[in-house]
């Protein structure tokens, strides 16, 4: 092969790869465009306030209020954090500071497996075990904020653990050595030195976990009960933004369908804000 054709081949490969790389941005752009084109007209028609702050969702009768769903989405997200964050952080600290090689060899693949389980399986287990458990021993129908928080709490574990673990591992070895040399115990070192140093990474892991929880759909539909009210207690059913779209899309037409896309617009905005914050937090760490 002459050197000329080799150079040409190199150039073609580079061009093709560039196209592939930018296609992801193209897809993102297309998704944005479609959701906005389909969803925005209703904001003009029904009014932003009556959609975002409206309390009543009855799209076939002309009510498009999704406020209860926005509240519910945040409730399950924080519920998931309350359950998932301490557990995940504990696991990350154990992995980074205490686990030996053999424990790590066992735990890391297990976590990857946990991340790989399809969400419908989490939902199924939730319906089969968590919902009846809550119904029998705590109260209510079982389809509730509590059940959803538990299921989502487990689902965000892999995100929280892997990112917090990376944050803790990036704390320089000299910090630990310094602390230990000053006579502090292992736990004092971890608690007073390592965790505060990895703070921004841990925070980012929680924000990304929130993003995961807000966006989760299938498992939530299965255990949340999907009622349209803002839940009055942790035992009440609720409906999130994602489940609203998935529940009703198959039958929707006309304004109803647009209403679901408007739900998508709001969801997209929430996820964008969360990702933005996660990026800000991570970048701040890098600049330091």
């Amino acid at each position: 092969m002459s050197s000329k054709t080799a150079v040409l081949k190199e150039r073609i490969i580079k061009q093709v790869l560039t196209v592939f790389a930018f296609s992801s941005i193209l897809f993102l752009f297309l998704i944005f465009a479609f959701i906005l084109v389909e969803g925005l007209p209703l904001f003009y028609k029904a009014g932003v306030n009556s959609i975002i702050f409206g309390m009543k969702w009855a799209p076939t009768k002309g009510f498009f209020g999704i406020f209860p769903m926005i509240v519910s989405s945040f409730l399950v997200t924080f519920g998931a954090l309350i359950i998932g964050a301490p557990l995940g952080l504990g696991c990350a600290v154990y992995l980074a500071e205490y686990a030996g090689k053999r424990q790590k060899m066992f735990l890391k693949p297990a976590l990857e497996l946990l991340a790989g389980i399809p969400s419908v399986v989490y939902g199924f287990l939730g319906v089969l075990y968590i919902v009846p458990f809550i119904r029998n021993f705590v109260g209510g129908s079982g389809f509730s904020l509590l059940a959803t928080s538990i299921v989502l709490g487990v689902m965000i574990l892999p995100t929280v653990i892997s990112i917090s673990y990376d944050a803790l591992m990036s704390v320089p070895r000299s910090y630990r050595e310094g602390a230990l040399a000053m006579g502090s115990t292992k736990w004092q070192t971890t608690w007073r030195v390592v965790i505060p140093s990895g703070k921004s990474g841990i925070l980012a892991s929680c924000i990304l976990g929130m993003g995961r929880a807000v966006g989760e759909t299938m498992a939530v539909i299965m255990v949340a009960g999907n009622a349209l009210k803002i839940p009055g207690s942790v035992l009440d059913p609720l409906r999130t933004l994602t489940s609203n779209i998935a529940l009703e899309l198959s039958y929707a037409s006309g304004d109803h369908r647009m209403g679901l896309f408007s739900t998508g617009v709001v969801l997209l905005s929430i996820i964008m804000v969360l990702n933005y914050f996660a990026n800000v937090v991570i970048r701040r760490k890098v600049i330091k």
């Binding site: 999907n226 198959s250 929707a252 109803h256």
Partner: protein
């Protein structure tokens, strides 16, 4: 690289093989059908069987809701409109053919001793005013009522036939299919929901309404009231191709197929 090329080749091949089928449609007998999402799955099944027997026919089935189907039929954009509700006065110029009946049954957990409800009690439960099983003569426990999602044909029929203008409360749980409503009722002893009659088996028990059991007999002699017709609508006398499909639906094969799906056929053979 070679693997990639092969994959691309396969894709091309599949695309090439796929096209002649759709191209040939122009020379065939085409019937367009649109309308109710509740009737659509059954029409699709009927169309599948019909097209197996009559390979020259192409039957296109689309959903969109009863109202959309009726409108499309009035505008003559489709040959047959499907509806799971009765026609309104201004729509009555269309010819309607009842292909079968679908009963909606109120179901509870098999352990639930409440065997009869009045229409009024059901209204109270779903409008959120009756919340405790104690008021129905059972234990002191909240009623876990389950409804269907907005837009569902079954929900539409339930609102019309049972609720009588009262609104379903926002605090009522929502599931997105007959199957998941049944699943909730089958697992939660304190639940109540409504499903298509064809869904009932040993895992849930249907309550009598005002003393009438929801069975095929009671539906046929009009004692059981929560029944909706599945209608085919045509604008004027149907042409040959359309006629052929409707004849098939009303034939023994078609009606048996609908019966097997849990619906109440209009003709017995």
């Amino acid at each position: 690289m070679r693997a990639l090329l092969m994959l691309a080749g396969l894709c091309l091949c599949a695309a090439a093989c796929g096209s002649p089928g759709s191209q040939g449609a122009s020379g065939k007998h085409v019937v367009d059908i649109a309308g109710s999402t509740s009737v659509m799955p059954f029409t699709e099944k009927l169309a599948e069987h019909f097209m197996l027997e009559q390979p020259t026919f192409v039957i296109n089935v689309q959903s969109g809701g009863s109202t959309a189907g009726i409108q499309a039929c009035i505008n003559k954009t489709v040959e047959i409109g499907m509806s799971s509700r009765e026609l309104k006065p201004d729509e009555e110029k269309l010819d309607e053919i009842t292909i079968c009946l679908d009963g909606i049954a109120m179901v509870v957990h098999p352990e639930n001793p409440v065997a009869n409800l009045t229409l009024c009690q059901i209204q109270d439960i779903f409008s959120g005013t009756l919340k405790n099983w104690k008021d129905l003569g059972w234990v002191d426990r909240q009623i876990d009522a389950v409804t269907r999602e907005e837009g569902s044909g079954t929900r539409g029929a339930f609102e019309e036939l049972v609720m009588g203008g009262r609104e379903i409360d926002d605090g009522i749980m929502v599931q997105d299919s007959n199957g998941s409503v049944k699943e909730v009722v089958a697992t939660d002893p304190y639940a109540i929901g409504y499903v298509s009659l064809g869904m009932i088996d040993k895992r849930v028990s249907a309550v009598t309404i005002d003393g009438v059991r929801p069975v095929a007999e009671a539906i046929k002699n009009k004692q059981y009231k929560i029944v909706r017709p599945f209608l085919y609508l045509t604008n004027g006398t149907p042409g040959g191709d359309t006629r052929a499909f409707i004849d098939y639906v009303l034939s023994k094969d078609g009606q048996m197929l609908l019966k097997k799906e849990g619906l109440i056929p209009v003709y017995e053979f």
